[in-house]
Every structure is written in structure tokens, then in C-alpha cells.
């Protein structure tokens, strides 16, 4: 039978072969077979790498993802990378320059010799250890912020997209929330609730929710117009199933991209909050905290700020580059612009 599938490349060679009808076909089948052989359609082979392959091949994804993987590894392997407990300090080893050797008192009371790879701060704490352990905090905050913001944003966006009566008021509230600069909301919330890891995460995530809501809402509204959704309605598919099987899967790509950018933003905001003194408590080693404590000595001992600063910049850069790469490969509309 002249069933056409997409791999009919052979019959599509230009410089037409003869009719594809075989004896035994009736007239109608023969005509159709001839059409199939001669028509442009049968000559077109469709090749398309799967989305996953495209993603893996993209340079930005590789670079950003690679650096990020390295950072994750560092954060997981922190205790074994030549670090000491980041809260340990020794007034004897205050303000040492990077590379110098000094002493540090362990929790058991021992005093050991230790090379301060990144120098020490004004309390005598090892900056290297604090920076390495700080990686854990930053990555956790970034990831958690993205997850929380996406979760709430998806729910709210779906509601806004599906329930007309909810759409207006909800979007006004989102507009209002977006009008207040994100840093200020985060600062105010942390000030109110006292800095601890969960509160900081929520405080940073809340200002990110409106953007996700808007994105999901616009995706829902545009996908609802697609003929395949109308077809599903005609086929008697109930609304919840349409949401789950037709709409949501087609929102995954833009949301993943958005998620990486929220992650980057979260890491950045946490650092800013800590730096300003309104973030996590100073005993938790975060890059922002280390930098905040190094501020007064910046003129003489810039290493307090530079090392954590570099780690921070590289991490956020890696996440942003990863996000760019994901966007170029996953989101066809954005990808057109190279």
C-alpha cells in the first residue's frame, strides 16, 4: 500500500522515477500511489534532533552547566577540600594575607597549623573555608528560591489563565507586587521575620512570583487558542485533563529557562542582603556575610572581599550562561534571534 511515512527519501530523488503504482492496485489506489510518488510531500524527509540532543550540544549549556557541576561538587566535597570548620577562629591569626601559614584552634581545643589559602579575616577565621562552605548556602538558596517561586507562580498563573473572573484582580495584585522593588521587599520581610534560611528563601522568592505568574498566564492564554486544544475540547476532554496533558507540558521549556534566571537572581539577592547586614545571621558562612565583615578593612586587606566576590560572580555567571543556552535551544521563539 502506498502508505507514506517520513522516511520515503529514496522515492523523493529529483529526476523522477516512474509511477509507483504496482499491478494489483485498482484505479483509485494507483492514482493515489502516483500522487504520492510525484508530489513534493513524499520527497521531503523530516529530520529533527530531539530537544535533549540540541540542549546537550549547545556551547553555553556546556560551559555554564560544567562550571555549575564543578561548584556543586565543591559544595558537596567541602569537608575534604583542605578546609576547617568555618566558624573556627583564632585571634592570633587575624588578618593574614592569602597563602600565609598560621594557627587555628579546633573545637576540641587543639591548636593546629593551617595554611590560610585565601587569608583570614579580622577574627582570625579561614576565608577559604568560609568561601567553600558558603558555596553550599548559595546553591541551596538559589535552587530553593527557584522552586518556591515557580511553584507558586505556576499555580497562580494557571488560575489567572483559566478563570476569567480571577484574572483581573489577580493580575492587579501581581502588578502592585512588581511595582515594589524586589530588594526592598526582601529587606523588609527579612527584617520582620528575622534571618534564617527558610525566611530568607521565602523573602527572596516572593518578589519573583509575579513574573512567573505573568509568564504562565500568557502561556496558558496563548496555548488555549491553539487548534489542538480546541480539538481536545471537541473530543470531550475535561478541563483539568486539558490543563494537565496539553497545556502544562508545553509550558515546561520556558519555565525551566525562567527557573535558571530566578536561581541566579536568588543567589545574587541573598548575597546583597547578607552584605547589607540584613540577611542570614553572621555565624552562617555566606559569601555576602564574609564580604560584609571585610568591608571596614577593605583598603588594607582586600582579600576579604575579592575571594568571595569572585566565587559569587562566577557562580551567577555560570547559571546565567546556562540559562541563556537553555533558552536558545528550548524556546523556539527566542532562539530565532540567535
Amino acid at each position: 500500500m502506498a502508505g507514506t511515512t517520513s522516511s520515503s527519501g529514496a522515492s523523493g530523488a529529483p529526476g523522477l522515477s516512474g509511477p509507483a503504482a504496482t499491478p494489483g492496485m485498482n484505479a483509485a489506489e494507483a492514482t493515489v500511489a502516483n500522487y504520492d510518488a510525484l508530489s513534493v510531500e513524499s520527497a521531503t524527509i523530516v529530520t529533527q534532533r530531539s530537544a535533549w540532543q540540541r540542549v546537550r550540544a549547545n556551547l553555553s549549556v556546556r560551559i555554564g552547566g560544567g562550571v555549575l557541576a564543578l561548584l556543586v561538587a565543591i559544595s558537596l566535597l567541602a569537608p575534604w577540600l583542605g578546609t576547617v570548620d568555618p566558624t573556627l577562629f583564632d585571634p592570633v591569626s587575624r588578618d593574614l594575607l592569602p597563602g600565609k601559614v598560621g594557627e587555628i584552634t579546633t573545637l576540641e581545643g587543639e591548636t593546629i597549623k593551617h595554611r590560610f589559602l585565601m587569608g583570614s579575616d579580622s577574627f582570625g577565621r579561614d576565608i577559604y573555608s568560609r568561601v567553600i562552605y558558603g558555596t553550599q548556602v548559595s546553591l541551596i538558596v538559589g535552587l530553593a528560591t527557584a522552586v518556591v517561586a515557580l511553584a507558586f507562580g505556576i499555580v497562580l498563573g494557571l488560575c489567572a489563565g483559566f478563570f476569567r473572573w480571577l484574572d483581573g484582580p489577580l493580575m492587579r495584585v501581581m502588578d502592585g507586587l512588581m511595582a515594589i522593588p524586589a530588594i526592598l521587599i526582601a529587606i523588609a520581610l527579612v527584617a520582620m521575620w528575622r534571618g534564617s534560611l527558610p525566611t530568607v528563601i521565602i523573602a527572596i522568592a516572593i518578589p519573583e512570583i509575579p513574573r512567573v505568574t505573568r509568564l504562565v498566564r500568557s502561556l496558558v492564554l496563548s496555548i488555549r487558542e491553539e487548534p489542538y486544544v480546541e480539538a481536545a475540547i471537541s473530543l470531550g476532554t475535561p478541563t483539568w485533563k486539558i490543563m494537565l496533558r496539553h497545556i502544562l507540558p508545553n509550558t515546561v521549556a520556558p519555565l525551566v529557562v525562567q527557573g535558571t534566571f530566578i536561581c541566579a537572581s536568588g543567589i545574587l539577592t541573598e548575597a546583597i542582603l547578607s552584605f547589607l547586614g540584613v540577611g542570614l545571621p553572621p555565624d552562617i558562612p555566606t559569601w555576602g556575610n564574609v564580604m560584609a565583615e571585610g568591608r571596614p578593612q577593605f583598603n588594607q586587606y582586600p582579600h576579604n572581599i575579592f575571594f568571595p566576590g569572585i566565587f559569587l560572580a562566577v557562580t551567577v555567571l555560570a547559571v546565567n550562561i546556562l540559562g541563556d543556552g537553555l533558552r536558545d535551544t528550548l524556546d523556539p521563539k527566542m532562539a530565532k534571534r540567535g
Binding site: 511595582a179 515594589i180 522593588p181 524586589a182 523588609a188 548575597a271 547586614g277 559569587l312 534571534r337
Partner: protein, 313 residues
């Protein structure tokens, strides 16, 4: 056109209302009693109750809200617990440094970013394009305070060209004013340039893919004219939009920049107020910034009238 203007003006009202409610709620829901904080540790319960009544905190929440709104509309933002003066005056005092920084930054950013973005789009794929994209990713990845310190170290400490900190009022001379604001402006504008250049590039690229560009080339027009009169003219709306939305980023950056460079502006005020748990001031500053944001975006939307004749007619 007038319908568009009127509709746009009216739609800011609900947004401002939501902002007011959110700001009010957020701070009223604080655990802990502001009156107790104000009274100090040694206060007696009657003293605390007195202070509460004085602050109007013994009324119901909706009542408090209405009273508060009433005060707002007359320009009364309350009294700062910490500075012991009206918040409105406090804001007035600190306004000039922040505005100076903001205006200089926006001007610098737009003047640098838009041409860069246009050229990058025109020479798509070339070295300028790639360089710009790399720079812009770095621009919003490196946090403001990190780049601030790098610049300070380089320019102030090593080269000694510009001062490390401080602010001079414009009334004391434009020279010193600029001299002290130069480094902070450059630091802050890095993010803004990154953002605007990126969006300009994307917007111009998208416009260059439109059919009317092909028509313009088919008419034999030189490329410069195609870029300016046909591409940029149509790309203007998204660029204006992002300048407006970027204000939010700018405000965030202002807070940090003022902190690093010891500029006595509204950003510093916010941080100090938060550390002192001075709620009226926190409220006042957040309100102020939000209203500025809404008004700037309103202005941007209204400017569409000039860019897009479809709105005019």
C-alpha cells in the same frame, strides 16, 4: 488616542492601591510590638500602652489602614521612630543624592547601551555582537557591590583618579558633584547598560526580520537609513519599556551603591531604617520608591504615543 491615555492613567490607580495595601500589611504583620521596641526595655506596661494609643495601634487593622491612607494623601508619612522627625522631611533631605545618582546613571546607560545594541544587531554574529553579549551577561551576573569594590580598588586606590566615598551637593558646585558621583554612576550603570543593550539588540534583531525591512531594501535604500528609519523606529517601544522596567533594578542597585560609596541617600536610609526597625521610615521609603516606579512606567507608556501611530489613531 485619548482613550488610550485615559485608560492608562486610570489603570495606575488599582496598582497604587495594591501597593498601599501590601506595604501596610507587610509591616503591620510584624511579630513583636513596635510600641515596646520604641518604649525600650525598661518601660512599664502603662507606658507601652500609652505609646500604642499614641501610634494608633490599638484600633482595628482596617481602621488603621484608612487613617493611614488619609495621612498619606495629605503628605504625612508618619514620624520616624529612630530619627525623631517626620518621614516626609527625612525623605526630602535624602532625595537629592539618590536622584542625582539615578538620573546620571540612566542618562549614561541609555546613551551607551542603545547605540551598542543597535550596532550589535546590525553586525549580528560579528565580534562586537559576541563581545556585547558576553559583556552583558557579566554585567548582570557580577553583583553591584563586587564591581564597586573592583572599581574602587582599581581607580581610587591604585590609580587615585576618583574619590572612594562621599557626596557633594550640586549647590556646592557641579564639578565636585560630578567628581564624587562618577565612580558610583559607572558602577551602577554597568547593570543597566547590560540590560538595555541586550534588549535593544534583541528588539532590533527581531525588527530586522520583519517584512517591511525587506521592502525597504528592495527599494534600494542605503543600510543606514534602513536601520534608523525603519528598524530602530519600530524597535523603540520594547526598548522604552525595558528602560521603565529596569528602574526596579536600578532602585535595588541604588541601595547597595549608596551603601558602598557612603552616599547619604534614600538607599542608605532604607538600610539604616531596617537595621533600626524604624517602621514608619521603612514604609515611607518603600512607598516612595514604588510610586516613583509606577509613575516612570506610566510616563514610558504614555511615550508610546510618539513612537507608535497605531495608538494615536
Amino acid at each position: 488616542m485619548f482613550k488610550f491615555l485615559a485608560r492608562r492613567l486610570l489603570s495606575t490607580l488599582p496598582v497604587l492601591a495594591v501597593v498601599a495595601v501590601l506595604v501596610f500589611l507587610v509591616l503591620r504583620l510584624t511579630p513583636g510590638d513596635p510600641a515596646a521596641v520604641l518604649a525600650g526595655d525598661a518601660a512599664s506596661t502603662e507606658q507601652i500602652a500609652q505609646i500604642r494609643a499614641g501610634l494608633g495601634l490599638d484600633r482595628s487593622i482596617p481602621e488603621q489602614f484608612v487613617i493611614w491612607i488619609g495621612h498619606l494623601l495629605t503628605g504625612d508619612l508618619g514620624q520616624s521612630y529612630y530619627y525623631k522627625m517626620p518621614v516626609a522631611d527625612l525623605i526630602g533631605q535624602r532625595l537629592e543624592p539618590t536622584m542625582s545618582l539615578a538620573v546620571l546613571t540612566i542618562t549614561l546607560a541609555v546613551l551607551v547601551a542603545v547605540p551598542l545594541g543597535v550596532i550589535a544587531a546590525w553586525r549580528f554574529g560579528g565580534w562586537l555582537d559576541r563581545g556585547l553579549m558576553a559583556f552583558s551577561v557579566m554585567g548582570f551576573s557580577v553583583p553591584v557591590f563586587v564591581s564597586a569594590y573592583i572599581l574602587i580598588w582599581l581607580v581610587s586606590l591604585k590609580l587615585g583618579w576618583l574619590p572612594v566615598q562621599g557626596y557633594k551637593r550640586i549647590a556646592d558646585g557641579v564639578g565636585p558633584w560630578l567628581y564624587h558621583l562618577a565612580l558610583p554612576t559607572i558602577t551602577l550603570s554597568l547593570i543597566y547598560i547590560a540590560l538595555i543593550a541586550r534588549v535593544t539588540r534583541a528588539s532590533v534583531l527581531e525588527t530586522l526580520g520583519e517584512d517591511y525591512i525587506r521592502t525597504a531594501r528592495a527599494k534600494g535604500l542605503p543600510e543606514a537609513r534602513v536601520l534608523m528609519r525603519h528598524a530602530l523606529a519600530n524597535a523603540a517601544v520594547p526598548i522604552a519599556t525595558v528602560i521603565g522596567i529596569g528602574i526596579a533594578l536600578l532602585i535595588g542597585g541604588v541601595v547597595v551603591t549608596e551603601s558602598v560609596y557612603a552616599i547619604p541617600g534614600l538607599g542608605r536610609l532604607t538600610v539604616d531604617a531596617v537595621l533600626a526597625r524604624d517602621f514608619p521610615t521603612i514604609q515611607g521609603v518603600i512607598l516612595f520608591f514604588s510610586v516613583v516606579y509606577v509613575l516612570v512606567n506610566l510616563a514610558v507608556d504614555l511615550s508610546y504615543v510618539f513612537f507608535d501611530p497605531r495608538i494615536r489613531y
